[in-house]
């Protein structure tokens, strides 16, 4: 198909309409919704309310939780290893085992060291490379109420309302009260935040925030934080094993979590880690592609931590609510699902339909905004359909440069600009087509404000932890969350490790899990954790021979 500066002719016709309405829209704002209006929109259009796509979890401590089939299939699945696997030969004995080498895991490791644990008595085991995580991909910013016009109290209100008041108050309190201290810690580590000449942070609003509270590092905020904390972990010589996911937690004879079975992804050899305390920081689940949505998540986001924790009896919460980021790329196809940071809207770009008309306040909380996009495309039929049949609405990106001056996109949004430029689109001149994309696991494993789960010896931090964001997370609270709860879990695990000595290792809990599977009568062919998604071509798989080499 012939493209004119990146777009086919029929899309160009719609872009002309967007350009025509732009001058009138520049200083106009579509009104925000009331709580009641939000509720009606959500129940009619948000994917979480598609009942046929979900089922109640069949057994276990969170039995009955109404979750997507894709996740239920993993929780109702057999372990990858038998319970009689020899776990008597311990390969690593450590004080703190951290499963997951993203933001939460790395922060936890650093604070375990601060809390007095010898770095050599810590082990980070991660499925891909150290830093391969959703943390690295976070673009827009991190929230912290540190300006005189702002306060942790306002931050608390914004977060609670964004989560539809389902968040656990003590976790939100920890989140907002610790936030300024976290940013100061980052300053001391040398994170290059956007600042003015006096050292004031350049701040932007985010969806659902009543103050401009988003601290950013261009649109590489997560990358900048991640690479600095990773660099610091390397300075402290904290051991990391890459390409070695945990495939099962180990318990001891007192029913405490006491380590994990790691799998070397290349040799398929397993290793036994015995640990005084274990922190799960495995991240989220975007690569399960709930309801066939594309995702913004990294390659390893397959909900492994939820599976492992559920097998040792941890409670889960709010997993019925999955976050679909309103602005995933819908065109070109090579970018489908990739994140277009909320900062684009924070800088003034409006979402408009194919006629160039506004239809929603640009910075509603994410689930509300996403639902409005879905309604515009599928009920009002005012979206644009791409050549591959995907629908989307326009995000009027050129407004950013008009409102803030030429060059803003290239300087404040270099990652976005670069990505579109690679695929032939100039977002300083043309709007970009967007549609909701699977972005975040709002819920997760139940824990207290120090990351301690209901299972002794098991701590959690980051996206795998639930309750902080309730049913919907606000922008900028996940970078904050992994720092706050990574720190708290790292310190709490260090204290726990000092006063506990693990007993004999056992996998008896997976026998018990298999019994629950049998009793519930669920399909026993499936195994979990999934570890990696499979994108091999159908034609290639049709002739695939599973023979030993």
């Amino acid at each position: 198909m012939e493209l004119i500066n990146g777009y086919p002719a029929y899309m160009r016709e719609s872009i002309v309409k967007v350009e025509q309405t732009r001058p009138a829209r520049l200083y106009a704002t579509f009104p925000a919704m009331s709580l009641d209006e939000r509720k009606v929109l959500l129940t009619h259009f948000h994917p979480d309310f598609k009942e046929d796509q979900k089922r109640p979890l069949a057994f276990g401590p969170s039995q009955g939780m109404f979750i997507n089939h894709e996740l239920a299939d993993l929780l109702e699945a057999r372990p990858l290893i038998p319970s009689h696997l020899d776990v008597s030969r311990v390969d690593y004995e450590v004080d703190v085992l951290i499963i997951g080498g993203g933001g939460a895991g790395t922060v936890a490791a650093l604070w375990s060291v601060e809390a007095g644990i010898d770095p050599q008595r810590i082990l980070i085991a991660t499925k891909l490379r150290h830093g391969d995580s959703n943390s690295t991909m976070a673009q827009g910013g991190i929230q912290a109420a540190d300006r005189p016009t702002d306060s942790p109290v306002m931050h608390y209100l914004d977060a609670m309302g964004g989560g539809h008041f389902t968040n656990r108050p003590e976790l939100v309190q920890a989140l907002v009260m610790d936030a300024p201290g976290i940013i100061q810690w980052h300053e001391s580590l040398g994170v290059m935040y956007d600042k003015d000449a006096e050292g004031n942070f350049v701040v932007h609003p985010g969806g659902g925030t009543s103050r401009n509270r988003m601290h950013s590092a261009r649109d590489y905020t997560g990358l900048e934080i991640m690479r600095v904390i990773r660099d610091e972990a390397r300075n402290r010589a904290i051991p990391v094993i890459e390409f070695a996911p945990a495939i099962e937690l180990l318990m001891d004879d007192h029913s405490h979590v006491a380590g994990a079975v790691l799998l070397n992804l290349e040799t398929r050899r397993y290793r036994i880690v015995k640990a005084h305390a274990t922190i799960l920081a495995t991240g989220g689940l975007g690569r399960l592609h709930m309801q066939q949505y594309p995702t913004t998540n990294h390659y390893g986001a397959t909900a492994d931590g939820l599976v492992l924790a559920y097998r040792v009896g941890a409670h889960l919460t709010d997993l019925d609510a999955i976050q679909y980021h309103p602005t995933g790329a819908a065109f070109p196809a090579q970018m489908a699902g990739l994140l277009i940071t909320e900062k684009v809207r924070g800088l003034g770009a409006q979402p408009v339909n194919r006629n160039g008309d506004m239809f929603v306040f640009p910075l509603e909380p994410r689930d509300v905004e996403a639902s409005a996009f879905i309604r515009e495309c599928y009920e009002r039929e005012l979206g644009i359909t791409t050549p591959l049949g995907m629908r989307g609405i326009w995000l009027d990106a050129p407004m950013v440069d008009i409102l803030h001056g030429p060059g803003t996109i290239q300087t404040a949004l270099p990652a976005m600009f670069r990505m579109y430029q690679r695929f032939g689109i100039d977002m300083t001149r043309d709007p970009i087509l967007v549609f909701p994309t699977l972005h975040y696991q709002n819920g997760g494993i139940v824990a207290d404000a120090h990351g301690a789960t209901t299972v002794p010896g098991l701590f959690v931090a980051g996206e795998v932890m639930g309750g902080i964001h309730g049913k919907n997370r606000l922008m900028g609270n996940s970078l904050l969350d992994f720092n706050v709860f990574g720190k708290r879990a790292g310190i709490a695990a260090a204290a726990y490790a000092r006063q506990t000595t693990p007993g004999n290792l056992t996998l008896a809990h997976i026998d018990a899990y298999e019994q629950m599977l049998r009793a519930a009568g669920v399909d026993r062919d499936r195994t979990a954790p999934r570890l990696l998604p499979d994108y091999r071509g159908r034609e290639a798989l049709e002739r695939y021979l599973d023979i030993p080499l």
Partner: protein, 263 residues
């Protein structure tokens, strides 16, 4: 609307030919051909540097570098993925460093061996002026090194191509941390707020809020007054903050340049 069938093209991956649809990224093409990636796939969005790829095209002698997730596969591409580039970094104690002009040279003296061939810059999939930031580091210009290297995703392609064995991305990392810690001014508002919190401020108000009934909490939420979104002449104007002669996005990314070459 009917889905158009894309043309098939021939990609040579690790020495074997595969027919793949045009319009796929290199990473998607490798998977289409039947490979399940373990290494060589990370964020799949150009942020992590897990998928450095080396290729040439057809009869051309030129060797190109790219990120597999951010580059379209082309007919007659002959390519291989680099699992990672082994890059040695130095350990340092941040609190003990001084932001002196020769600090980077102390840790990475090999940058003095830069022959200014610009191979690193040409190899960079992010379009970063890599050689310029190495030269800036050599001159002791920490700020320019930090700002020019800011968009680095640590894929290591630059270092794999360098004739002087310079390890570029640790140089940029060290410069950015020194700049962030010692040269960027600290936020006074932040320091004030941290002291307030340490003294117990907001605790009472927070406790009250946490114990409100759901109904009262919703009322408080609906009563929020929004701070205005900033506009052209605001103090937070991104260009005003970043508007140094050091443009983080270089000529390769310049829309004018793209349009004039018709790429």
């Amino acid at each position: 609307m009917t889905t158009p069938q894309p043309d098939l093209i021939t990609m040579q991956f690790m020495g074997k030919n595969y027919q793949v649809p045009s319009g796929l990224t290199i990473m998607a093409a490798i998977e289409y051909a039947g490979y399940k990636l373990v290494r060589g796939s990370g964020c799949r969005a150009g942020f992590c540097g897990a998928c450095p790829t080396i290729y040439h095209k057809g009869e051309s002698h030129k060797l190109y570098t790219a990120l597999a997730c951010q580059t379209l596969v082309e007919d007659q591409m002959c390519l291989v993925q680099v699992p990672f580039v082994p890059v040695a970094r130095k350990r340092y104690v941040m609190d003990a460093l001084q932001p002196t002009p020769n600090i980077i040279l102390q840790y990475y003296p090999e940058i003095a061996g830069c022959v200014a061939c610009n191979t690193c810059t040409r190899a960079c999939p992010q379009g970063i002026q890599v050689m310029d930031y190495i030269q800036a580091a050599l001159r002791g210009d920490i700020q320019r090194t930090a700002e020019l290297s800011f968009d680095c995703i640590s894929c290591g392609i630059c270092s794999s191509r360098c004739p002087s064995d310079i390890k570029h991305y640790p140089v940029g990392q060290l410069a950015r941390r020194i700049y962030g810690k010692y040269i960027l001014p600290r936020s006074q508002h932040l320091a004030d707020r941290v002291s307030e919190l340490a003294a117990g401020a907001y605790q009472d108000e927070m406790t009250t809020l946490m114990h409100l009934s759901l109904e009262d909490l919703k009322v408080r939420y609906e009563q929020r007054v929004f701070e205005p979104v900033v506009g052209q002449n605001d103090e937070h104007n991104a260009v005003r903050q970043w508007g140094s002669p050091v443009d983080p996005v270089d000529f390769q990314d310049d829309p004018q340049a793209i349009l004039s070459t018709g790429a």
